[in-house]
Amino acid sequence: MRKITFGGGNSLDNYLARPDHAVDWLLWGKEAAAVTANFWTTIDTVLMGRKTYEVAARSGQKGGYPGVRNYVFSRTITSAPDGVTIVESDAVEFIRGLKKSAGKDICLMGGGELARPLFEAGLIDEIGFNIHPVLLGSGVPLFHPMTRQINLELKECRPFTNGCVYLTYRVKNEN
């Protein structure tokens, strides 16, 4: 079964972007780049919601992420370039099917709105976040309200020299 990892960079108070979607506060660095590059070799598919896709498209990434299949979940986008597939149907059912199909692992990009039903359905296997040394105070939240508690198991804790801390967890879906 293919594994889905929900990942990204966040502030200590759990925002993945400022209210205007700005991510200027993200610190890029060699260590984070190495972790990302390594992670990228394990996946062949990226999932994202409409808003994440639109932000990426505005910053020049119109064709989705290169070298991987991109699925964007939206009922309103009508066309997309090669390499990006728009999925109108129910995300949970589609992704359940995707996990059973052949392929490498899957990366769930932001944001929280797409992640929430997937967490509730027990479809997310791992969480990987690069926690930044900043409190934004407001912004686009990473995690949305859910109906139940979800237990996690810490896999790795790696601090970077720029003050970020990279944490990965396995999601305990076997309640």
């Binding site: 759990n14 040394p133 900043v134 409190l135 105070g137 967890y169």
Partner: protein, 173 residues
């Protein structure tokens, strides 16, 4: 100079208590020495909502030796003789507290008081023990801020038995 330290346990999704104020999601990790962690403080500073559930407690914990200061406009000092109530916690109050003799001050919570003091620039250190759980709802770590606060990571510690990761940050002026 005494320091004000916000030290709390938080879920990965940023809650310091469950929707009904529960703490049962925080595992008991035998490697975490609460006595040692508390030894640097002699004063607990908290908001009313954090204090009220504790108000009736009979004691016997590591907090018995500590002075308790509660920021509240509604609690009456004569009804709570064992604590000090400050109706309006200003930057000056914080500086006076810090200038006095004593050990460091533990900002016990909650998120609203943390936000107020952070906006006043009076929080010196933030220590978060991240518990490996997503609560889905509850009391937030921090209320909305007018302006972002930059932090400096000072240390981190991993507790393998529970998977708790403790991150220690200084607050940049």
């Amino acid at each position: 100079m005494r320091r004000i330290v916000y030290s709390v346990a938080s879920s990965l999704d940023g809650f310091i208590a469950g929707p009904n104020g529960e703490y049962d999601w925080i595992p008991h990790d035998p490697d975490i020495d609460f006595a040692a962690l508390g030894a640097r403080f002699d004063t607990l500073l908290m908001g009313r909502k954090t204090y009220q559930p504790m108000a009736g407690a009979s004691g016997g914990g590591p907090f018995d030796e500590m002075k308790v200061v509660v920021a509240s406009r509604t609690l009456r000092q004569d009804e709570h003789p064992r604590i000090t109530i400050i109706p309006e916690l200003t930057a000056q109050h914080c500086r006076d507290l810090k200038a006095g003799p004593g050990k460091d001050i533990w900002l016990f919570g909650g998120g609203d008081l943390f936000r107020s003091l952070l906006e006043l620039g009076e929080v010196d250190e933030v220590r978060i023990a991240i518990v490996p759980v997503l609560l889905g709802g509850g009391v937030p770590l921090l209320g909305p801020l007018a302006q972002r606060a930059k932090l400096t990571l000072k240390s981190h510690r991993l507790y393998p038995k529970s998977g708790i990761v403790s991150l220690d940050y200084g607050v940049k002026a």
